[in-house]
Subunit: 277 residues, 2 copies
Amino acid sequence: METTSSWKAHGGTQGVYRHASSATGTDMHFAVYVPPHDKGAKLPVLWYLSGLTCTHANVMEKGEYRAACAKHGIIFVAPDTSPRGDDVADDDSYDLGQGAGMYVDATETPWAPHYRMRTYVEDELPGLIGDVFPADMTRQSITGHSMGGHGALTVGLRNPERFRSLSAFSPIVTTIGAPWGRKSLTAYLGGDEAAWRPYDACALIADGARHPHIRIEQGGDDEFLAEQLRTGVLRDVCAELGQDITIHLRPGYDHSYYFISSFMADHIAWHAERLKV
Amino acid sequence: METTSSWKAHGGTQGVYRHASSATGTDMHFAVYVPPHDKGAKLPVLWYLSGLTCTHANVMEKGEYRAACAKHGIIFVAPDTSPRGDDVADDDSYDLGQGAGMYVDATETPWAPHYRMRTYVEDELPGLIGDVFPADMTRQSITGHSMGGHGALTVGLRNPERFRSLSAFSPIVTTIGAPWGRKSLTAYLGGDEAAWRPYDACALIADGARHPHIRIEQGGDDEFLAEQLRTGVLRDVCAELGQDITIHLRPGYDHSYYFISSFMADHIAWHAERLKV
């Protein structure tokens, strides 16, 4: 692992790192904020999965998470959203290929060789974080935005014992039931929707997955809400099947980082309560 | 004035606006954050002047000021750093021309026709802000970064009755005594250094300007500290001439927005104490 950038920030260290990923077969970048802490201390970890077109850098620059992470003593990890490189399959559209990995392990041509973001964020990168940073990997939570909100919910629902709490900003709550999901999962996984169900938060809950702490923040003026995000489908599935969920619909807010940053400190405080248990 | 973008953020409104400036003879963009407030209320104003290469957008995206402005009820105004356009004089270097206006009214060819950033930030834009936003123009303070820290200190020292408090992150404290200043002021104002003194914070204090509330934040690992920023020159001038000043040297911090955002909330709280008087 190589440190490509490092800045002192809010008393801690914001770094960007590069490593050769065995999961994706490419070099991957990720960002980690380590707050000020006592020597030898092990700190809980909050994962943040980013949305379409993003890299590790968007939330690092615009997410306004460092003050809250410094206050609560939480490490913040932001992976990239796909493998990248000249020899990595891509597509001209913004919602498929590089920058749009959807946190799945692809099985289809030409995506299968490198698009293994499930394995990367679920297995490989946690191993590296636990080895290299002062992280207490028995205390993890996860959040994300849009495509990354889908990632946070599905990674979390598949691994409820690993994550103390799951939250999401403006998540894609169903890949099966919305165009972004249908387009990318058809490409990455093929036409059999049974293979998509581990990558659909609503389907996971319908199939029996549960988590005691789920929180959603959704802007009421989000231009993608009705067609792509469909918060109401998750609300109805949870109500029908007895999954507790807290959904805050925030009037006037859109899909941008101006929305995310407005509620980031609240989400971190909410995760902190559960990470300190 | 035209609204080019607007987002709800931290309960208020972050907007970007464009207007035809009579000072510069160009269209100018600026950013304003108006926090949540009671209908009819008039709020104090904090000006933020940006550094070399920046537009209004850098601090808007990376400055982490909105939470503190919402908490204290302060309007935050971020102008651009120069006139811009195909018919506006420019230079290939990053520290002269577009993006590097230095907050001066240029007198030299080819800069004089459009490079009138002193008049723009000191006279024209305050008039517009007072007319269009719910601003109490009897309560203003000013801050800025690097070239914009120079701007904040010099605008503030020339107008001590207008600004309750002056602060700066990593400011250029002397244009006469540092390469960035010497290069740009030679170009904009010609070779007679007497004409530069209203645009040099240390010279203004030496020539008698005073302000009761000045605060500087300076990163100890700032790569520009020794040659370009020269905080110690200001410290010594203030000590010699009896100008009170608070200078915080922050070990380990550099010149970036990771430094600015780490102390932005502190600066806003400090200005808020003085704006509420």
